[in-house]
């Protein structure tokens, strides 16, 4: 019974919760709140975020956070493959929008942040990563960008800030010859971005490296692989299985009936 609940819950997470989480990130990643009239502003993901998302997905595959061969395979029914493909697509767009959420909208800062992301992801491609380390590293990466954009830069350029903050903003603008020029949004934008990133990281934690396979399908696959082996290898395989069986029967405790006979 417990096993049945587990299987049902896993299916709910995999087929419904995960796509919903990633699509919510896709929806909120480009949402800003205007500082002037508190109206919604929808920022379409810039091209660079798609490039960054591609790099990130490659990193997911390299870090074994996603095992593509387990998500999409010809052994599975088409509906399952379609469902998995949608989940992976929603992950790609969520990644793109997560970058969009922490990238400044224009100016020199936009290019600085983009370069910072590009450089980090490119370096990570050649580093050793496992899934847990990868999620940790991404949390730090997005967290840093969030703090820089929504806390430090937003505070410096806030219209209602103190004179000291305004002075620092003016100095920064002067030093950069007016190339920084970040767009100022209402504080609600920071809260939306925080929620979006938390949801994205939560989704990554919930994401299984590969969906569990049907045991019967797995058995069929093993039998088919066995039958595809050359004669010598098949004999070797049979011998290994027989040896294993003997070891298992030797390790089994004698039944009460056997004891009585002695």
């Amino acid at each position: 019974m417990r096993k049945e609940h587990r299987s049902k819950n896993e299916a709910l997470v995999q087929f419904i919760a995960l796509p919903m989480i990633f699509l919510t990130v896709t929806l909120l990643g480009g949402l800003r709140v205007s500082a002037e009239d508190r109206g919604f502003v929808f920022v379409v993901p810039p091209l660079i975020t798609l490039v960054l998302a591609v790099l990130l997905v490659v990193l997911f595959v390299r870090g074994r956070l996603i095992e593509i061969e387990r998500w999409l395979t010809s052994d599975q029914p088409p509906l399952t493959n379609l469902s998995h493909a949608l989940t992976l697509l929603s992950l790609f767009f969520a990644s793109s929008q997560a970058f969009n959420s922490v990238l400044p909208e224009s100016g020199l800062l936009f290019w600085l942040f983009s370069f910072f992301f590009l450089w980090t992801l490119w370096n990570n491609l050649y580093s050793f990563f496992d899934a847990t380390r990868l999620v940790r590293s991404l949390t730090v990466l997005f967290g840093t960008a969030f703090v820089l954009k929504h806390m430090i830069i937003a505070t410096l350029y806030a219209p209602e800030g103190s004179w000291l903050k305004k002075l620092a903003g003016v100095l920064l603008e002067g030093l950069s010859l007016g190339t920084l020029s970040p767009q100022v949004f209402a504080p609600a934008t920071g809260y939306i971005s925080f929620f979006t990133l938390a949801l994205y990281v939560g989704g990554l934690i919930l994401l299984p490296s590969g969906p569990k396979r049907d045991p019967r399908l797995e058995l069929q696959r093993i039998i088919a692989a066995y039958r595809g082996l050359p004669q010598n290898d098949r004999q070797l395989m049979s011998q290994v299985i027989n040896d294993d069986q003997k070891l298992l029967s030797a390790a089994e405790p004698p039944s009460p009936g056997d004891l009585q006979d002695h």
Partner: protein
């Protein structure tokens, strides 16, 4: 069987959510109220607030063009009603018209409004039967607005001050 049902629900809900995201980014509403209005426009149930439209028309006839435009904006927040947009353009024309020179900025806004009216008009044609107006089709009004902002030799004609506002 249950897994299959969960998968079907997952695929359908994902497809609907994707459609919603594409729609919201295309419509780019500024508030939750605009989200509702845009949804009404999409499903075809959008209607102009007739009371506000009539109130605006009264203001228009009293030559209070700015107030009339504000009221029409409230009557047609999605700017999708051809008739309302025609009147908005007319209000811009009347306010911007001058005996010596026209207000180019107001005329440009009038052109934008008349373009919206032409886009929203069913099968592209619209005729307003209002005896108070001298122009009854978007084409007439658009021509008048365009001529008003284009510089020409006739601008130097002193007899121009005797022309009449339509």
């Amino acid at each position: 069987m249950q897994h299959r049902l969960i998968q079907v629900i997952g695929v359908i809900s994902t497809a609907l959510y994707v459609a919603f995201i594409i729609w919201i980014y295309a419509a780019a509403p500024r508030s939750f109220k605009e989200v509702a209005t845009s949804a009404e426009v999409t499903v075809g149930t959008y209607q102009v607030d007739q009371e506000k439209f009539d109130a605006a028309l009264r203001l228009f006839r009293q030559q209070q063009y700015r107030a009339a435009r504000d009221e029409w904006q409230r009557a047609d927040p999605a700017q999708r009603d051809a008739r309302t947009q025609f009147y908005v353009a007319y209000a811009f024309y009347r306010e911007g018209w001058g005996r010596v020179y026209n207000d180019t900025e107001l005329f440009k806004q009038g052109l934008a409004a008349i373009d919206r009216a032409i886009d929203s008009a069913p099968s592209g044609s619209l005729t307003i039967d209002d005896p108070d107006l001298q122009m009854h089709t978007p084409a007439e009004l658009k021509t008048e607005l365009q001529q008003g902002i284009e510089p020409s030799l006739s601008d130097f004609n002193p007899l121009k001050v005797f022309r009449q506002r339509k």
